[in-house]
């Protein structure tokens, strides 16, 4: 399984904090995003935001990052702490 987390405005838009999906062989972040975007128009719009940030196992990742079972993927808007 892959654990997927959403934070801040993205979590509010999707009304979802976390989900789990089965891991597919050679699946990259982009494929996961495409899969999630098929849920409905809200997901499609929120996940197509060009400013979307990605982390895999707590490290900043990119759309081509390959995922494996047990990974934790996080999607979030640009950070605003400090």
């Amino acid at each position: 399984m892959i654990k997927i987390l959403f934070f801040a405005s993205l979590k509010d838009q999707l009304k979802t904090e976390s989900i789990e999906l089965p891991a597919n062989e050679n699946q990259c972040v982009d494929m996961l995003l495409k899969h999630l975007s098929t849920r409905d128009a809200i997901w499609q719009k929120a996940l197509s935001n060009s400013a979307l940030c990605i982390a895999v196992n707590h490290t900043i990742a990119v759309k081509s990052t390959v995922l494996k079972t047990g990974d934790e993927v996080a999607f979030f808007p640009p950070v605003t702490g400090g």
């Binding site: 934070f7 405005s9 490290t59 605003t80 400090g82």
Partner: protein, 151 residues
Amino acid sequence: MVKLIKVQTADFNQQQEYERLRDHPSTGAIVTFTGLVRDISNGENINALTIEHYGIMTQKILAELVANARKRWSINDCTVIHRVGDLQLRDQIVFVGIASLHRGEAFAACEFIMDFLKTQAPFWKKETNAEGKQYWVDAAQSDQRALEKWR
């Protein structure tokens, strides 16, 4: 190098943090930065602030920022504290303190850590305006530009 990194809901005491940084006998300079909740943000009157974070990643990123600062400057001691949860006007949000031999290193390292914290550490601010409406804060372009001086 000693270091202290904390993410917490509780407030922090500047004097205590300063005294801890002052402990190293070769320290000749301490620079501290404190960020506060202010009443105006992007032209809006603000009544309160909530800060969300991605716990495990936050700790990891803050540790990396401190390690990167240490590669560039000689640092005796370093403290980074960031609060999360519900905050009110004038509350303390963030503290960065650097103890080093000379002031130049302490000033630079403190600014370096703050510049990267603001653009890389996974914290998000949600403001409550005077009418009680809540909204997520957008990232500022000026924070990205601030990184250019460290390239």
